[in-house]
Symmetry: C2
Subunit: 149 residues, 2 copies
DNA sequence: ACACTAATTATAACGATTATAAATTAAATT
DNA sequence: AATTTAATTTATAATCGTTATAATTAGTGT
């Protein structure tokens, strides 16, 4: 599915949910959809400061929260470090480079059985799960491109 | 394996690694091993303030970092919210109640194949993975014990 | 017991995120 | 198109978890 369609559908979702479509929201969504880097709030803020010189960081955070609540966006949290935001398309997991911080999507089928198993042993009603794989990317393995996570 | 043995082994690990065993470290380790709540740094700080009225929060954080580096402790990060710390015994995953924040351990075999698969598709060299299942615990399902996460 | 170095303490600083209040604006209604 | 109103944005300050700093204290091998 093309990015244009994704954007159009996202805007529809907002309309349906009664969330106003402001230029800032439009731009943030567009950036999120086209971005491949799983950006932080600050990445987005910086990327849009040419188009919106007066936009506040709070606006970015506020709208990312709105998008998350509506289900358009997933927040990936990393302790003290800044959260990264991911436009929701279809289910995928993340492979994270511990050397340079790069995040690569990968698809993997049914971890439903893990959910079922966990539900059975703990007695919890399961809603979702989170899986991340950590390692080192090819770039970092061959020595180039070192930078802090 | 009993908690006493765990503590003794942990102290051995420290000795072997050349990490000094201070009363504070002893107490933090002991608390971590006996605690079932996957405490935050602040939980630990508060729990030990009777025994160590002059202990600094920094000491707790410093030592948790040391323990993590030596492999005795795992840090579970949750975005803006405080990290929780888990004494490493054998491999297990976490079931997290989204209503009250309770964390329950559960064991599950080989997710190695996921690691292998991910490594294959992404070209990363895999080090580890993280899996968490989210849901609602029995207590919260039946309505009691509501509190913020 | 001594000396050497690491660990602790107290405090300030940091960075990500959120709360607040005033100003602006999207969009429903006329 | 003008009006209205509540939602949104902005600017700023505040919050909270965590880390850096520098001075003091205390483990541990000799």
């Amino acid at each position: 599915m093309s990015n244009d369609v994704h954007l159009k559908e996202a805007l529809d979702t907002l309309k349906t949910t009664g969330v106003r479509i402001t230029p800032q929201r439009h731009a943030i969504l567009e950036y999120l959809i086209n971005s491949m880097i799983h950006p932080t709030a600050d990445d987005i803020y910086k990327a849009l400061e040419d188009k919106f010189p007066n936009m506040s960081v709070a606006t970015v955070y506020n709208n990312l929260r709105v998008f998350r609540e509506v289900g358009l966006v997933k927040e990936l949290t990393y302790g003290d470090a800044a959260s990264r935001f991911d436009f929701v398309t279809n289910d995928h997991y993340h492979m994270i480079c511990e050397s340079c911080g790069k995040i690569v999507d990968f698809h993997y089928p049914g971890l439903n059985e893990v959910e079922q198993f966990a539900s059975h042993v703990t007695g919890f009603q399961v809603n979702s799960h989170r899986l991340e794989v950590y390692g080192t990317c090819q770039n970092c393995l061959t020595g180039q491109n070192k930078q802090a996570l």
